[in-house]
């Protein structure tokens, strides 16, 4: 079993590299590339702000470098194993900058002269000459940009590998480092998913067992039909209907509308209390109360999907020879079901985790958006609207790594549940 886990862990780095490459290149090949936030559509950035952003992006990615160099720089920053980078005030960087400036000086002088010539022309009569001069200036500018001596600030120092804390960058729209933003929102999303996933598994297994016990009955068929319909109901619809009918003031006001806690959460005690004859729900019960609707939204679809699988797997196993032997031995139906058939039926449920985790991630995005919960999903959608690409890239990366971790855990559970499996 340990060799299996070890082999799975060895296969992790190529998957990580491939996945991070695709995630990065989705942004890098977009119009504007990594520096897209510099191309503000409404031109609202002040020159100092724009210069600060440009310097930051240049230092971090290298705006004029080829895309694979940008990718490696980003990977270096984001991974815990990497190389040091040249700082702005490094002596080698200063030397290179000076040599660069020296080599560029004649070209820049030519460009300045052409610009002066162009400014002296009359725009209404000599448009052709102005365009010609602009083209020459642009060609000289391109030539100037090819004189790029390394090392630039932010280049990798390949002789200094080190372990470091992953640096996910700074979010310009919010003015905070992305590490802090992710550290705030990640626990919320993980809490939602850790609540939803085991609950859906437990309910699905319970329902699958009940259906398998009463195979062929009306209950069995009707529940099968209902679970297919339940799986098809879109999460967006359920969320909007639940919030509209159960949490709204116009209809039933059974549940709170938004957030994870009430407004006066800071003044609440943690545990509920019955002081002075009134029942005061503490912070814990308040949190549970706020989490009921989101958890329903996240659980129902996975529960429906898994219960069909659980029923199928249990039915298959209950007809197997070893179960017939167990019954022939005189074991009670309960022991036959829970000690013998149950463990084999878990296997397809574990393998299907590969399909459930992405659905859970998408569900979390929707639920956080509808119920106003400040998790990773809401952060991602806000980042998309504010065109905050550093944040968006980091959120995609963190979510993908979490998904990979989930798959790894599923593999480990699979090995524990089925001792027959071996990788290869």
């Amino acid at each position: 079993m340990l060799t299996y886990i070890f082999r799975r862990l060895l296969l992790l780095p190529p998957t990580l590299i491939g996945m991070t490459a695709i995630v990065f290149f989705v942004l890098a090949t977009a119009p504007g590339g990594i520096g897209a936030s510099l191309l503000s559509r409404t031109g609202e950035m002040r020159p100092a702000e724009r210069k600060a952003r440009e310097d930051y992006l240049n230092r971090r990615y290298g705006l004029n470098k080829p895309k694979y160099v940008q990718y490696f720089r980003w990977l270096n920053k984001v991974s815990p194993i990497g190389f040091a980078t040249y700082a702005d005030n490094d002596s080698k960087v200063a030397e290179a900058a000076a040599a660069e400036a020296q080599q560029r000086a004649p070209i820049e002088a030519q460009m300045e002269q052409l610009r002066r010539e162009r400014a002296a022309l009359d725009i209404s009569r000599e448009q052709v000459k102005i365009d010609e001069l602009s083209i020459r200036i642009a060609t000289l500018d391109a030539q100037r940009k090819t004189i790029d001596l390394s090392p630039d600030p932010g280049d990798l120092v390949f002789t200094k590998p080190r372990l470091k804390w992953p640096d996910l960058g700074d979010s310009f729209v919010r003015g905070r480092p992305v590490n802090a933003l992710v550290a705030e929102s990640l626990p919320v999303t993980i809490m939602l998913e850790v609540l939803a996933l085991p609950l859906s598994y437990a309910l699905a297994i319970w329902l699958g067992i009940q259906q398998a016990k009463r195979r062929g009955s009306t209950l069995d068929f009707s529940v099968s039909g209902v679970t297919l319909a339940l799986w098809s109901i879109p999460t967006i619809w359920v969320g909007v209907l639940l919030i509209g009918f159960l949490a709204n003031e116009e209809y039933l006001r059974l549940f709170p509308t938004t957030g994870l806690n009430s407004l006066n959460e800071a003044a609440m005690a943690f545990l509920p209390s019955w002081a002075d004859g009134t029942f005061r729900p503490g912070w814990l019960l308040d949190r549970v109360y706020h989490l009921i609707l989101p958890t329903i939204c996240l659980t129902y679809a996975n529960f429906a999907f898994l219960s069909r699988l659980a029923r199928g797997a249990l039915l298959d196993n209950l007809q197997a020879d070893f179960v017939r032997t167990a019954r022939a031995k005189g074991l009670s139906e309960r022991i036959v079901l829970y000690r013998h058939a149950f463990r084999n039926s878990l296997i397809p449920l574990i393998t299907v985790l590969v399909n459930i985790l992405p659905a859970l991630v998408a569900g979390a995005v929707i639920v956080e958006n509808i119920f106003g919960i400040n998790g990773m999903g809401k952060l991602a959608v806000d980042a998309a609207f504010q065109r905050d690409f550093e944040l968006l890239l980091s959120i995609t990366l963190v979510t993908a790594i979490l998904q990979l971790t989930g798959y790894l855990l599923a593999d480990i559970c699979y090995v524990i549940a089925d001792p027959r499996v071996s990788y290869g």
Binding site: L11, P14, T15, G18, M19, I22, V23, V26, L27, A30, P31, G32, A36, R215, G216, G225, L228, A229, W231, S232, I233, P234, T235, I236, W237, V240, L241, I243, G244, F245, N248, T258, L315, D316, V354, N355, P358, V361, A362, V365, I366, N369, I370, G372, A380, V381, A383, A384, F385, R387, F389, L392, L393, I395, T396, T399, A400, Q403, L404, Y407
Partner: protein
Amino acid sequence: MADAPASTSKVAEVTYQPVESGELGAAPPRNFLRQVIYDTFNITGARLGMVWIVLLACLGVAAPFVASSHPILMKADGAWSSPMWRHLTPVDLILAAVAITVLTMWLVRRATFAETCVVVVIVVAVVAPASYMFKRTPQTPSYQVYRDMERSSRVQFVMRTLIPYSPTDRLRDIPNARLSPPTWYAPVKNLLHRIVPAWFDPPEPSLVEKINSLPAWSLLGTETDGADLLSRMIHATRIALSIGLISTSISIVVGILIGGMMGYFVGKVDLFGMRLIEIFQAIPTLLVLITVMAAWGRNIYLMMVVIGLLSWTGTARFIRAEFLRLREQDFVHAAVACGLPRWMVIYRHILPNGLTPVLVTATFGVAAAILTESTLSFLGLGLIDEPSWGQMLNQARAGGQGFVWWMAIFPGAAIFLTVYSYALIGDAIRDAIDPKLRKRD
């Protein structure tokens, strides 16, 4: 039989007469695919699902003929005109031509699938360039002009479409049109209030005022901009169905290519392919789609391609398993021994036998693509001009302040029914191809 050797067994005395297929209730000969389709649509769920999808396809094709503010035929100031015809786009004409061709071929001439495909391609090749060259559509249609003309009594005869609203007609000439409930809301509520006054309040005067200001019957109400909801929903079927079909086609093609190569050339190709599958499984689809919509812009074709390129792993796994199973079969050895080229062995011998699990993944894939597009539109990151069910569902939240029940129930029900139909059909196909199932239940 006279020439049989003498035997002591009683079995040899039994004689058999050859039976023509079709006699004595024997099933007519069908190839495997036809058998699967026949078995699938014997299941009630699949039939119901197909009814809904065919309804959606008809609505999608007939959308400008069924829901449009432009009247079909109008006589104004003594001159006859057909505003609906004038405002038809080339895409509408192509879709209508294809639909008419398919109906004629299937129902009237009972043609096979291949013949229908060929004729459809010919029809599209003729109609598409002609409509793009000759059909001119006015760029900025004015919807109010017909209602203004009616108000000033300049219209002698008018024949309108079934739902006299266009999806982008924001009813700007009617002051209270935004967010009006359906026209039947007020009378129904009044009736309920008279029957059981304790449970039902009379409808609010503000909502009744909105209903009364609408120019014609509005079956599902209007949305925040004032456009009619039913008309928008009908036009949104085009987006939903086309995204579902095209994304799934792309994912199936990629999945078959990669899975087939992995299953046939086992070894290093298989190892590399498994790493590729794991990489693409690790990518969070919705987040990458959000990133693409934010960075590249909101383009429907881009959305289709990205959804297709991120969802091929399921198909690839199934095709790989089928290829691994089939490549050891005798018929493949025979084909190779005959000297057939490799591509022929793969595409004409192995692949047709391995496609059955792909039918199931394809059907569920279409449902998933429709859900993904609705989710993106719901979050506000979908297409801007085109109507979409998810976007209408988003408007039901009224910016977080209220709840608009007609915008929540109807578009959501449309998404649910579409996904449910595809799920029913997929489930039925799965039951039809699984031989174990017949023995179990």
